[in-house]
Amino acid sequence: MVTQISEGLKAEVKDLNFYYTHHQALKNIHLQIAEKKITALIGPSGCGKTTYLRCFNRMHDLYPGNRYEGEIILFPDQLNIISPKIDPIEVRMRISMVFQKPNPFPKTVFENVAYGLRVRGESRRSLVEDKVEKALKQAALWEEVKDRVQDLAFNLSGGQQQRLCIARALATDPEILLFDEPTSALDPTATSKIEELIMQLKKEVTIIIVTHNMQQAARVSDYTAFMYLGEIIEFDKTDKVFTHPSKKLTEDYITGRFG
């Protein structure tokens, strides 16, 4: 039985199974996502963290043969976001994603951030400008790029590019922001900047972050789920998971006995 949390919920995962055609990658997952908190997913490589995260914004719909079972209920409107009746685009409008490797588009800094607004049909210039500036500020990038928003995004450093991708995701005011190992391609300085930023952001948005860096999970998250072979082995408040894990497997993993 997975621990129930007592705070406001943003999402609830019920009996989620996921299949890559015939290979079952997620098994009977139950999990609650607390609103405006950071939930970390940890576990050894290949345990299904990315697969799980990508269910939240229906990225698996890109490939035929992928199949979801069960429910991911999004609050407050209790929408089952993995129901085939729900348009994945509607889900991605509300739940945005930052990838493992910074992936700015071959456009200017400004147009990268404005992308989400433009695809929503927003064409009022002053509104777009305001939102881009606000998103860059939220992503702690504004001071560094305000004089070169018309430069190509590729000219930024790796850490800046990742913060640009965060700004790009924030510009459309998502309800949940998904991070898939957002610092694995960055150096320690850039990493700590991003970690700080993520902790700031939870004031405004619910965050789910995949990481295989346990220190990172311990530093930034409020809740931690430990996954193993496609299942959630343990889920609880982060201090509890790291100080008094209830399962032997969790303890072995966080003490570095495997992984």
Binding site: I89, F99, N103, F105, Y115
Partner: protein, 282 residues
Amino acid sequence: MEIKEKLIEKILLFIALSSISILALIAFFIFGEGLPFIWKIGPHAFLLGERWVPSHGEFGILPMIVGSFWVTLGALLLGIPLGLACAIFLCEWTPPLAATFLRPAIQLLAAIPSVIYGFWGLVVLVPLVRTYLGGPGLSILSGSVILGFMILPTIISISEDALRALPPYYKAGGLALGATHWQTIWRVLIPAARSGIVASIILGMGRAIGETMAMIMILGNAVKMPSSFLDSARTLTTNIGIEMGYASGSHRQALFATGVILFFIIMILNSSAIVLSRRRVE
């Protein structure tokens, strides 16, 4: 063993060098015949002269430059949107199995001899244009349409390669932010593949400018400044193709000089295509 290897190496080197030197020889020959002629009558009179009457010693190729320009432009107006649409469709919407059949079929289009395209144009397209739009039918419009189809394989295959070579995270990133498939294609994938797409267009343009046989059959070959898309015209290549058989003396040299101009145009187009497609790889 050692000796055999060396021998093979030497033979290959010899073959490579001789094909390069034959190319160099051809270029040398064209320039040797053409450049002195341009020099003699003056680049100005040659490039901007509007009258081409070899029997009177008048050698202005402006009508042919204009003809080449309009036919090529028309071909691009048709070929670019159609070719890009096909490339996008093949890359993004065609089921993989169907694409494996369609791709070679499209490449096969490039292998159809141009005389066949010309024949089809003459029999089907020219009468249509003459009946419904007026004019002689043998016209810039007919030539452009045929040429537009002829450059499709080039534009489709190179653009599709460029789109296919994009790292998958562009598409995933574009979609993850709530864009539709088409918005992602238009706002992310096409800009990302831009240099490859531009290279495909330039190579298509090179093919269009160089095409001779089909154009001789369809354009009507009139040596005058065309004033509308329904007029007959003559291109640089057809000028050479039609007259080289019987030309002599300075007439012959004038045709070589026309070749020099073509040579320059094609060189410029191809080198810019190479530069652009290199940039894509970086």
